[in-house]
Amino acid sequence: MLETLTRELTFGQAVREALAEEMRRDPRVCIFGEDVAEAGTPFKVLSGLVEEFGTERVLDTPISEAGFTGIAVGAAMTGLRPIVDIMFGDFITLTMDQMVNQAAKVHYMSGGAWKVPMVMRTTLGATRRSGAQHSQSLHAWFSHVPGLKVVMPSTPYDAKGLLKTAIRDENPVVFFEDKMMYTKLKGPVPTEEYTIPFGVADVKRVGRDITLVATSSMVQVALGAADLLEETGMSAEVVDPRTMWPLDEKTLIESAKKTSRVIVIDEGYERYGVTAEIAAVIAEGAFYNLDAPVKRMGAMHIPIPFSPPLEDATVPTEKSVFEVARKLCGQA
C-alpha cells in the first residue's frame, strides 16, 4: 500500500472537506439551510463553500425547518442530492413529519419506485451553555425509524469518510455532529480520497478487562476514562459503533464476549435512548459471557439546565465513566 499523506484537521474542517469534495464530484449535490451561504452557518462549518459553488448550490433558506426539509425530499426524488443543514439538533422536532412520514417511507410505500437520496446534517451535545432548547442529543428518535440511516462520527477522520458515504447513499441519512468538536477536536485526515462504510464499528482502543461502547462526543470521554483506568492497571476497550443504523451488532457483541463487562455511553437522554438498544443487543448476544450487568450512561433524564454547574452534571465525564468502570469490575 502507498504511504498516505495525512494532515491534522479539526472536526469542522473535515466536515467541510467532505462536502466540498462531494460537491466537486457530483454537480447534483447541493446544500440548503439557514445562514449556510455567506455566513457559512453560525458554527462556520460551511465557510467558503458558497464562494466555490455559488448560491445556486448553497442556498440560504427562510427559518422553515419543516418546509426546506420537505423540499429536500422532493428534490432528492427528482434528481438532486440535497444536504439540509439543521443548525441545532433540537430543531429536528420541526422536521419529524418530513423525515419520518415522508423521507423514510417514500421508497417503501412506492414499492421501490422512488428513492430519496438526501442527507440531513445536524448537531448534538450539551455543555455549551445554550439552554434546554439548544443542547439536546435526539438521535434516538431517528434511530427508531425504519427507512432512515443514522450516523454519529466521533473523529475528524470518521466525519469525513462517513459524510462522503452518506452523500453517496441512495437513502435518507441523518448525520449528527457534536457541536463542541467543530473547533476543539483535531485529528489526522488523509489527503487521499477515502470513504467509510456504514454498519462497521470501529475499535478505537483495544483492551481486555472492560468494553466501553461510546458514541459521538462520548468517544473522547471513553478514551479519557480508558487512560485513567490504565493508570490503575485496567485495560479498557473502546468501541465506537459509528452508525446507529445500520448497527454493527457483531463487533459489539464480540468485544463484550471478550471482556465480559460493558458500559454503553452516549450523550442522549439515558431513558429510552440509544444506550438501551445497544445494551439490550449486547445483553442478549453476549448473555453467556457477561460477568456483570451491562451498564448504561447517558444524559440525566432532565431538560438540560443552563447553569454551568448543573449542566456539567448532566453528562457522563471521564471521571464518572472511570468510576462506574471500576465498580463494575469490582475495583471500588
Partner: protein, 332 residues
C-alpha cells in the same frame, strides 16, 4: 373567478377531440370510484378509501394541461389525480387490494399510489404532506435546467397546515415552477371549511407573492383554461401560483361515511349532483355546441365500464405479495 369564456391560449386552441377526451377521463375517474365503492361494500377491499366523485373536473382539467414529464403530488383522495395523470386502472385496483401487481407492489394502498412513469410523486395520507415534495420537484426542474413543472394537489383542509406557507414562501423567493391546486370541496372530514378557515383563501397565497386565482371546479373548461395559463407561466419561469378550485365531493369523506346529515344536508348534496355535475356540464356544452351527441356519451360510458370491469377482475384475481417481501424496499 375565471370562467370558461376566458380567451386564454390553452382554451382557444382546444379541439372538440380534446374536450371529448376530457369527458372520457372524467367518466373514467367516476366509474373507477364507483368500482372502489363496490369493492368496499363487497368487502373485497382492505381498509377504507376516499372517493373523488364530484371533483373529476379538477384533476382532469389540470392534468390535461400537463406533460408526461411534469410532476404531480396528490392526497388521500388521490385516485382521480392518478388516473388523470395517466395511470392504468388495473394496477391501481391491484394496489387498492394490496396485490403484488399494484403500482406499489401492494405496499402503499389507496393513499400512497406513486408512479415515476407518469410523473406521479405519490399520494399522501398526511394532510399537506406532499407540499414540500412538490416544491422540491420544482426546484429540481429549475436547477437541472428542465422546463417541466410540478402540480401540488391538496384539499382546503391543508390550508390549516403551516408547512404549506413555509414552502409557498420559498417557492416565491426562488421563483419555482410549482402550481398549488387547492381543491375546496367545502369539508374537511366532517367539518365545514368555514369553521376552520379564517380570512380569504387566495389572499393567503397572494400575500406570499404567488399568483393566486379561483375557478369553478365543476367546469372542466374553466379549470383547463386557468390551470393551463398558470402552468404555462410557470414553465416560462414566471414563478409559482395558487389555484383554488371550488368543488364538492358527492359521497362521504370515505366509503364508510354513510350518514352525513349531522354535518351536511341531503338538499345540499342533491343541489351539487343535479345542478353542478362536471360531467353533465361538459356534456351539455358539447351538445349545445354541436360537438357531440348523446350516443357518443353512451358509447364512452359503456367502453369505460367494460375497461373498469376488466381492471377489477385483473386486480381481484392477482396474487398477494409473498410475506417475505415485507422486508424488501426499506432501503434503496
Amino acid at each position: 373567478m375565471t370562467t370558461a369564456t376566458d380567451k386564454s391560449a390553452a382554451n382557444s386552441e382546444t379541439t372538440a377531440g380534446q374536450w371529448i377526451r376530457m369527458y372520457r377521463q372524467m367518466v373514467s375517474v367516476r366509474l373507477f370510484e364507483e368500482q372502489v365503492n363496490e369493492l368496499y361494500t363487497r368487502a373485497l377491499m382492505p381498509g377504507l378509501a376516499h372517493l373523488y366523485i364530484g371533483e373529476e373536473a379538477v384533476a382532469v382539467g389540470v392534468c390535461e394541461t400537463l406533460r408526461a414529464d411534469d410532476y404531480i403530488t396528490s392526497t388521500h383522495r388521490g385516485h382521480g389525480h392518478c388516473l388523470a395523470k395517466g395511470a392504468s386502472p388495473d394496477r391501481m385496483f391491484a394496489e387498492l387490494l394490496g396485490k403484488e401487481a399494484g403500482y406499489c407492489k401492494g405496499k402503499g394502498g389507496s393513499m400512497h399510489i406513486a408512479d415515476p412513469a407518469t410523473g406521479n410523486l405519490g399520494a399522501n395520507a398526511i394532510v399537506a404532506g406532499s407540499v414540500g415534495i412538490a416544491t422540491g420537484a420544482a426546484l429540481s426542474a429549475k436547477r437541472l435546467g428542465k422546463d417541466n413543472v410540478a402540480v401540488c394537489f391538496f384539499g382546503e383542509g391543508a390550508l390549516g397546515q403551516g408547512v404549506l406557507y413555509e414552502v409557498m414562501n420559498v417557492a416565491s423567493l426562488w421563483k419555482l415552477p410549482v402550481i398549488y391546486v387547492c381543491e375546496n370541496n367545502l369539508y374537511t372530514e366532517y367539518t365545514h371549511f368555514s369553521e376552520t378557515t379564517a380570512g380569504d383563501i387566495p389572499a393567503r397565497a397572494a400575500a406570499f407573492g404567488l399568483q393566486a386565482e379561483s375557478v369553478d371546479g365543476q367546469d372542466v373548461r374553466a379549470v383547463y383554461a386557468t390551470a393551463g395559463r398558470l402552468i404555462d407561466r410557470a414553465r416560462r419561469e414566471g414563478g409559482p401560483s395558487f389555484l383554488v378550485c371550488n368543488t364538492y365531493r358527492y359521497t362521504g369523506h370515505h366509503v364508510g361515511d354513510i350518514n352525513r346529515e349531522y354535518y351536511r344536508s341531503k338538499e345540499e348534496e342533491k343541489h351539487w349532483k343535479t345542478e353542478r355535475d362536471p360531467l353533465k356540464l361538459l356534456a351539455d356544452w358539447l351538445v349545445a355546441q354541436g360537438l357531440a351527441d348523446s350516443t357518443q356519451f353512451k358509447r364512452i360510458q359503456s367502453e369505460v365500464e367494460a375497461e373498469m370491469k376488466k381492471a377489477v377482475e385483473f386486480a381481484v384475481a392477482a396474487p398477494y405479495p409473498s410475506v417475505s417481501e415485507a422486508g424488501e424496499d426499506v432501503y434503496a
